[in-house]
Point group: C2
Chain length 136, copies 2
DNA sequence: TATTATATGCAATCTAATTGCAAATGAGAA
DNA sequence: TTCTCATTTGCAATTAGATTGCATATAATA
């Protein structure tokens, strides 16, 4: 974990608390996205509502983005630098049908299709389902 | 509504009932996808559980597919002929941030990105957010 | 150290989805 | 046409995840 959670919070003008540091560290450590339940599991003493509101805050401050995959619970993942300013660096997400983990494929920008007359796009979300390298 | 609901059910080996005919007709008439709540609204006498199980059945029989857009409720839409056999004819979906309607863009097949080593894709789901032609 | 806006914990609520079960019904057999 | 039985339906109850209210605790800064 090269990046310092505390540092990151300060940069984003997010008030530093124990909860927030630990929740942010969970994301910095993880190679895949996390649901509220995932975080509850790794931080059993933490309160669900607090986790929820922390994730809300992180999302508002463009520290996290959300992913709706085939699972019931919403997943959260760190924003890359490119995410931060505007959402023009769009990356796909890969959801493994076996282990159910969802990965940000930040390296794999994708081309966007044309649209019907008078439809204007502002954002894209591509979810790829399949089997991840760990589950082959 | 050129296509006959009853006919369609028979072709798919789905037992014909009043509920199913009317629910299927809702989809045949609609230019955008529908949630359970949408159907409850247009068929006020119908039971939520019945609608739910009907949609399950329709999905299993490849009459409908589902779409997770930014709204809370899951949306359902008719499968095109191409959907039916295998899911290789992938089309994007457009979700309007104003009216909240979600359209199947069956005309607009999209290119798929490369994947990391040892990741195998089996399905793709692209949701485009923006403003639809009605809301411009 | 005092002040104050903000974050937290806990319980309650909300929403959409999902299930159990007994009664009703569709489709094929007789 | 009527009978039979697997399937579907309606209703009520439950689940799962997200979200909120409110009193208390705490971080930031003066
Ligand atoms: Mn991502
Ligand atoms: Mn579609
Ligand atoms: Zn996997
Ligand atoms: Zn619209």
């Amino acid at each position: 974990m090269k990046i310092n959670a505390q540092q990151l919070l300060k940069e984003k003008n997010i008030r530093i608390t124990a909860n927030r540091i630990l929740i942010l560290e969970s994301f910095l450590k993880s190679s895949y996205s996390l649901s509220i339940a995932d975080i509850e599991e790794s931080l059993p003493w933490a309160d669900r509502a607090t986790i929820f509101r922390t994730l809300m805050t992180f999302k508002e401050k463009a520290l996290l983005h959300t992913i709706k995959d085939d699972d019931k619970a919403l997943k959260y993942a760190l924003c890359s630098d490119a995410c931060q300013v505007n959402h023009h660096h769009i990356h796909p997400h890969f959801h493994c049908d076996i282990c159910s983990k969802t990965y940000c494929l930040t390296q794999y920008e994708f081309p966007t299709p044309d649209l019907p007359e008078n439809f204007k796009a502002s954002n894209y979300s591509l979810i790829i389902n399949g089997i991840c390298s760990n589950c082959q």
